[in-house]
Amino acid sequence: MLTARWLHKFALLSAANLGSAAYAEGAITLAGWGGTWNEAYKTGITDPFTEKTGISVVLDEWDGSLARVRAMVEAGAVSYDLVSIEAPQLEMGCDEGLFLPLPASVTAQAPHYLPGTLHDCGIASDTWATVLVYDGTKLTNGPKSWADFWDVKAFPGKRGLGGQALYTLENALLADGVAPSDIYTVLATPEGVDRAFAKLDEIKPHVVWWSSSSTALQNLDAGEVVMTDMYNGRVTFDNENNGKDYRIVWEAGFLYGTDLWALVADAPNPEGAAAFLEFFAVPENQAGFPRLYGYGTGDARVYDHLTEAQRSRLPTSPDVIGYGASYNDAFWAENLESLEQRFKVWQSQ
């Protein structure tokens, strides 16, 4: 495309004064999820890394969009070395060659990692779960299971659920008595999908759909919903910083998801990125983040470096991992579009 190429040249010419900031020599650029997540990562992981290796880190904030990575790689203008990306996107990006395989020293740690947390192209930057939550100040005898979540007679009031197929179909099957580890064997069949939607039919009139975590928790706080599904880290954050008493019902069963550090093809500083990955793969170093934040890690050895209180809020800690199972990213990588479409049709009926 001639015009595009022309624009590119123009961009290169003017990059010096107008383009994005110049990077310090030897620095690496990481793209994280922003806000408090980035703050905890900086204090817990990247600052100690810089102290140890002398490699400075620019911790940027991004939206986790694979389209953006693809665009950068295709244009030969990669500005990130490592990105934290959701597992289904990692799966697709790895297939397309947008991410590079991890150093062998990192992948050799595989036996210590939980399912889904170490991939050819990525190592878990954090693990999180969508959990059943209620407000402890409003319900003294709260729900114990996803079946209770569906039981509008025993627990009258509206429920909050994320307005998408991902997570919601799993929750419906949990409520229908499917064990967390069996969810995807059920969901892989057309009958299983029908079963999930049939279960959702039961609760549909009682659901307030949320599209951002802030609205979901506001609804819970205002008593507009009596219980909701929510990311565990967000719940812990509000409990610890805003004096809330939201209760996470781990024993109801949950699925955990993984964000992974992935090495972008044509990264500007691959050596620095590899050094970071090697530093990060040491359990003691990796503990820096879950110590500060309610998100877990993939390496089971990390928990030895955490206190009881720190462990209690993590979805992948040995205390609660028995109630949970991993989201199946390969399943969602190929069924996301068709199931989301069906979900939207179902929602608008």
């Binding site: 389209a67 599209s211 507009e224 190929e334």
Partner: protein, 405 residues
């Protein structure tokens, strides 16, 4: 109208400086707007991936139809050849993604098969069994049918999908099954929201325009400024303000509770109602201004004359003023409706899941599933509707202004 006179060469020469002055902007708009949009819309019919993906397999499948079940052995051999080539050329992942759009659940099988095909030692093996062993997807004749039929440079797949249609096994048009038929619902919803916003704007604009026209000049200027002020503030800011106003603990609910009208806060935000309230507020000035412009040109004596002849006010207004107001109302309605059709930020922030309009789905397929073909087809649909509305309004405008004259 006279036919345009061809310019004499000498006259045209005098125009060269003007053309040179105009050229940079035209070029700029072409490069930064027209070309990108055209290239993007082209994705709605682009089928290069599949066309380049399976030349051998498609040839081997000629004469085969989905009704016969799985294809014959040569098709399997051709598939291995095509996939091995795609894998070597780095096209396999994109090909798998494309096939997965047509037959959900086939992605991982295609990728696995491509990797295998590029490295497998094929001597003496049953190719058919080997391929079928790679995954369930190859047992599905529908997947083979896509490879057999989508062989052209262009595809109607995305555009048909946006109309809730698909091609059947024999290439005939079929409706999508009810649980997949999403897009006509979205289209109807987008039109319904835009229409109601336009109608409400028209109803609210009329008294305001009348009052401003009748007011003394100073007052009229002040009133006009009050209409214009919201037009000058950003869409985002106004939407934020409505969220704050309407939320559970917001002033509207507080007032209602203080008045004793409700005991529990009402759910006002993230509903169809809050969306329409916000959109009307945002778009109303666009309706008031053209109505006002027309109304100012109508001499007040006309109404007085009609009234003095004994016509009741309502009758006089309807028969005398309304026809004169039509062009203004039409312009306003056209502006409001076309702007409303493309709304994204406002529904995203203040609407519920059931109030998302076409633009939200363009974003969804661009960002979340990377199905740019479908996003482009939805964009095309939106643009076609915009063009139809514009054409309709131009026609109506000609009709009404013609009648007035």
């Amino acid at each position: 109208m006279r036919p345009p006179q061809p310019l004499r060469p000498s006259a045209l020469r005098g125009q060269v400086p003007y053309l040179l002055m105009l050229a940079p902007l035209v070029m700029f708009v072409l490069v930064t707007v027209v070309v990108p949009v055209a290239l993007f819309l082209f994705r709605a019919i682009d089928n290069r991936e599949l066309q380049a993906g399976f030349p051998q397999t498609a040839a081997a499948l000629s004469g085969w139809s989905q009704a016969q079940g799985l294809p014959p052995e040569p098709a399997f051999a051709a598939l291995i050849f095509d996939l091995a080539k795609a894998q070597e050329e780095g096209r396999a992942a994109a090909l798998a993604a494309r096939l997965n759009q047509a037959v959900p659940g086939s992605r991982s099988t295609v990728i696995k098969t491509a990797k295998w095909a590029a490295t497998a030692d094929l001597q003496g093996a049953s190719l058919r069994e080997d391929v079928l062993d790679q995954g369930k997807a190859w047992h599905n004749p529908a997947l083979w049918s896509v490879i057999a039929h989508e062989t052209g440079r262009f595809t109607s797949y995305y555009i048909l999908t946006t109309l809730d249609l698909k091609r059947g096994p024999e290439g005939q048009l079929q409706r999508l099954p009810a649980e997949e038929a999403l897009f006509l619902t979205i289209l109807a919803r987008t039109l319904a929201i835009s229409l109601s916003v336009t109608a409400i704007c028209a109803l609210l604009a009329l008294p305001v325009a009348h009052v401003i026209t009748a007011a003394r000049p100073r007052m009229a200027t002040l009133l006009l400024a009050m209409v214009l002020l919201p037009l000058w503030t950003s869409l985002l800011v106004r939407t934020v303000a409505w969220i704050i106003l309407l939320q559970g603990e917001g002033p509207v609910n507080a007032t209602l509770q203080w008045l004793g009208a409700v005991t529990e806060p009402l759910r006002l935000v993230y509903t169809r109602g809050s969306l329409i309230v916000t959109m009307v507020q945002v778009l109303l000035p666009l309706m008031i201004l053209p109505v006002l412009a027309v109304l100012k040109r109508i001499p007040p004596e006309q109404m007085r004359a009609a009234r003095s002849l004994g016509a009741p006010w309502w009758m006089a207004w309807r028969r005398v003023q309304l026809p004169l107001l039509w062009p203004g109302l039409m312009t306003g309605a056209g502006l409001t409706f076309t702007f409303a059709l493309g709304y994204y930020i406002t529904p995203r922030l203040i609407g519920g899941e059931k109030d998302q309009m076409l633009s939200s789905f363009i974003v969804f397929y661009t960002d979340k599933t990377l199905n740019w073909g479908l996003a482009a087809a939805l964009s095309l649909q939106l643009l076609v509707i915009l063009a139809l509305v514009a054409g309709l309004l131009a026609g109506l405008h000609r009709l009404t202004t013609g009648r007035v004259r």
